[in-house]
């Protein structure tokens, strides 16, 4: 027995690649089974044909991809670019982009304050950011709807009764409602990585900047921001990627009037029972997000800011 173990040890010692593989194997197995596997199922389905009643026929086709880009006009029956779907892809990307931007603008000062001014309550503030996750996301979205409704919602009542507004404002079932929901949901995903990178910021560098006469905004612009770019990039990715695929918030807080691609994919699978078209749209969404990430990370890599932060 001992010699087998010994020989295995020697083998792994002499082959660093195999050593890394063995050490990583549980996580590799996990990713293969639960992430890569299902994605291949989706990819496979996207090349099949949907039959009546949502049955699946094993005829390989590219039709599902074609349908995503070209559609027969409802009235003239002429093939036209599928503006409907393209529009929805565009809207999803735009909403996710705006959400990311707002999360950064709100999250960076908060993370900065906690990391540098949080004192001994630092961990408490971070815990408060994580606390909403203790309740179901659906329940929290419903709670927001109760707050935002017009005119019976708390916020509208407060504004009306304080005399700040005369007419109730519509904060729900429009783009505003969707953005409030998305920013609320994804803000912790932005704050945590920003906090982690600000926390590791070397204070002596900041002191040196001040000692050398940098004004606070100069210090922020030329020292703090560049040194935390890795954290900013992680925060952007962690906010943007799940936000593009958001489904529940447009459905509930948008009242199905500001739908995103996630809603359309769900409709294809459930309402239309068209798994193949739904799969093709999912694959396209994954490819778009991947392309954006690759460009983004590649640019980050070129600026040499990823080391130590990823």
């Amino acid at each position: 027995m001992r010699s087998v173990r010994h020989r295995l040890g020697r083998f792994l010692w002499q082959h660093p690649g195999a050593k890394a593989g063995t050490a990583l194997s549980p996580i590799v197995f996990w990713i293969a089974l639960f992430i890569v596997g299902p994605l291949f199922v989706v990819l496979f389905y996207s090349f099949l044909t949907s039959g009546p009643f949502g049955s699946i026929q094993y005829n390989p086709t590219l039709e599902n991809y074609q349908k995503t880009f070209v559609a027969n006009d409802l009235r003239t029956n002429e093939p036209t670019p599928n503006w409907l779907y393209l529009n929805i892809f565009g809207r999803s990307l735009a909403l996710a982009f705006v959400t990311t931007l707002i999360c950064m603008l709100l999250g960076y000062p908060v993370a900065y304050w906690i990391a540098l001014r949080g004192g001994r309550y630092k961990n408490l503030w971070i815990a408060l950011f994580i606390m909403p996750f203790w309740t179901s996301y659906v329940v929290r979205i419903f709670a927001w709807m109760f707050l935002l409704r017009d005119p019976s919602g708390f916020i509208n009542q407060l504004l009306l009764q304080s005399g700040l507004i005369q007419e109730p404002v519509q904060l729900l079932y429009n783009v505003t409602g969707v953005l409030i929901g998305m920013v609320y949901t994804y803000l912790p995903f932005a704050v945590i990585p920003l906090y982690a990178s600000l926390e590791r910021l070397d204070r002596s560098v900041l002191e040196a900047a001040s000692d050398l006469g940098a004004r606070p905004w100069q210090r922020l612009r030329y020292v703090t921001l560049p040194l935390t770019r890795g954290g900013i990039m992680s925060a952007c990715v962690l906010t943007f990627v799940p936000a593009v695929g958001e489904y529940l918030i447009p459905d509930l807080m948008g009242g199905s009037k500001v739908n995103m691609i996630g809603n359309f994919i769900a409709d294809k699978f459930l309402r239309d029972q068209n798994w193949t078209l739904g799969s093709a749209m999912s694959v396209i969404l994954i490819l778009i997000v991947m392309a954006i990430l690759i460009i983004y990370l590649w640019r980050g890599h070129r600026h040499g800011i990823l080391e130590g932060d990823f």
């Binding site: 009546p52 009643f53 949502g54 049955s55 409802l74 009235r75 409907l84 779907y85 529009n87 929805i88 179901s136 659906v138 419903f142 709807m145 409704r149 017009d150 005119p151 019976s152 919602g153 519509q170 729900l172 079932y173 489904y247 529940l248 459905d251 509930l252 948008g254 009242g255 199905s256 009037k257 739908n259 809603n263 359309f264 409709d267 699978f269 459930l270 309402r271 239309d272 029972q273």
Partner: protein, 395 residues
């Protein structure tokens, strides 16, 4: 309407959890503890009981959420004492020594997504009438043995065949209702369009205070077709496209396409007019007496939710035992009373509280329903067109 509780549960019955896809509100009670009890079951044919004895003493049921008597129906809360048959599942388990697993879904589409691939493990599943032909076509459900369903004679004749009885060979009607709209009496007082779809489609004064149901490809298109004077089952291209145009024009007037939250919003007055089902409108009325329900004159759909046995079920006899149990008048009355929807069981009506039985909303007259029909989900082009209309509207 008096103070008796018509609708006891908190948020919406059908749709609250729909968006989460979380249907696993598993409800499991071990029947083994109750083995000592065995009641007299004269209404169950002996060959059925023999067949049940050969099965494994378990039953898996899949139904809409909040769609069975989950609590005792007491005299104090409802004005009738049906505690001998409620909570429904518990009493069934006690009497027949069957261990029931009861799961719920929030939409037919969600149910189909689970049942269609096979291997779901369910024995009895509740289908809304317009998905029954599809379930048959896909061979998801098996023909019923009518000789085991001795209590089916309690059903109203209109639910045992056309116009409102979906395929008696495959299904047993469970509860039924109507899609119409709820409105706030105070806000629309004197509007001559009440009772017509035009209130919802042309009610410019109620802009942003109106909602439509979120299954637009069925309920939205149906309402638009009826508003234009067509049958809800119209399948030709031109009328369907016209319905699509009407929906498109209506969209700016609407606050939302929703079903989950609308009951509560009607009660608070945030929504004044909402396309809705009968029972949900009544629930809103319990919280706000100004809420009324309209049966649009131009027509709409009557829907019937009914029980079927999955083709892959290994417990057909136990499934029949359950269905014949549900058909017992008092059992059916207990369920209908708790959920505040209408029972198709004629003999059950005697046990239903006065307030519900005389409600013209729960039990509309034949005259109210003269332009009403069961919706038949089309296939092929007409279905694709409905889906495209919904895509365009929501896109």
């Amino acid at each position: 309407m008096n103070q008796e509780k018509v609708q006891p549960n908190g948020l919406s019955r059908r749709e609250f959890l729909k968006k989460t896809g979380a249907a696993g509100l598993g409800f499991y009670v071990a029947g083994a503890l109750l083995r000592s009890q065995s009641a007299f079951a004269s209404d169950m044919p002996t060959d059925l009981l023999d067949a049940v004895a050969k099965e494994d003493g378990k039953l898996n049921i899949f139904n809409w959420s909040y769609y069975i008597a989950e609590d005792p129906v007491t005299d104090k809360d409802y004005g009738v004492d049906l505690t001998d048959v409620t909570p429904t599942i518990e009493k069934f388990q006690q009497e027949f020594n069957i261990s029931v697993t009861y799961d719920t879904f929030e939409s037919q589409e969600e149910m189909l997504a689970k049942v269609r691939p096979g291997g779901s493990g369910y024995d009895v599943v509740v289908f809304t009438n317009y998905y029954v032909p599809q379930a048959k076509g896909l061979k998801l459900i098996q023909p019923l043995d009518r000789s085991w369903l001795t209590n089916a004679e309690n059903l109203l004749s209109r639910f045992q065949g056309p116009p409102f009885g979906p395929d008696p060979e495959f299904v047993v009607p469970y509860l039924w209702g109507v899609t119409g709209y709820a409105y706030n009496q105070g806000a629309v007082h004197g509007d001559s369009r009440v009772g017509h779809w035009s209130l919802l489609f042309r009610g410019n004064e109620y802009k942003n205070k109106m909602t439509m149901l979120d299954s637009v490809f069925i309920d939205g298109v149906n309402a638009a077709l009826a508003h234009l004077g067509f049958s809800i089952n119209e399948r030709s291209r031109v009328p369907l496209l016209a319905a699509g145009d009407v929906l498109m024009e209506q969209k700016p007037l609407l606050q939302a396409y929703t079903s989950g939250t609308v009951r509560d919003q009607l009660a608070t007055g945030d929504v004044l007019i909402a396309q809705l089902w009968t029972g949900d409108a009544l629930a809103a009325q319990q919280q706000n007496a100004a809420i009324q329900f309209a049966f649009p004159n131009e027509g709409s759909d009557v829907w019937v939710d009914s029980m079927s046995v999955l083709a892959e079920s290994k417990r057909p006899a136990t499934a029949h035992l359950w269905m014949n149990y549900i058909l017992r008048p008092r059992v059916a009355a207990g369920i209908a009373t708790w959920v505040a929807y209408a029972t198709p069981n004629n003999a059950a009506l005697d046990f239903i509280p006065e307030a519900q039985r005389t409600s013209t909303v729960i039990y509309p007259s034949d005259d109210d329903l003269k332009n009403y029909a069961l919706f038949v989900l089309p296939e092929g082009d007409a279905l694709a067109l409905r889906q495209q209309i919904a895509d365009e509207l929501l896109g």
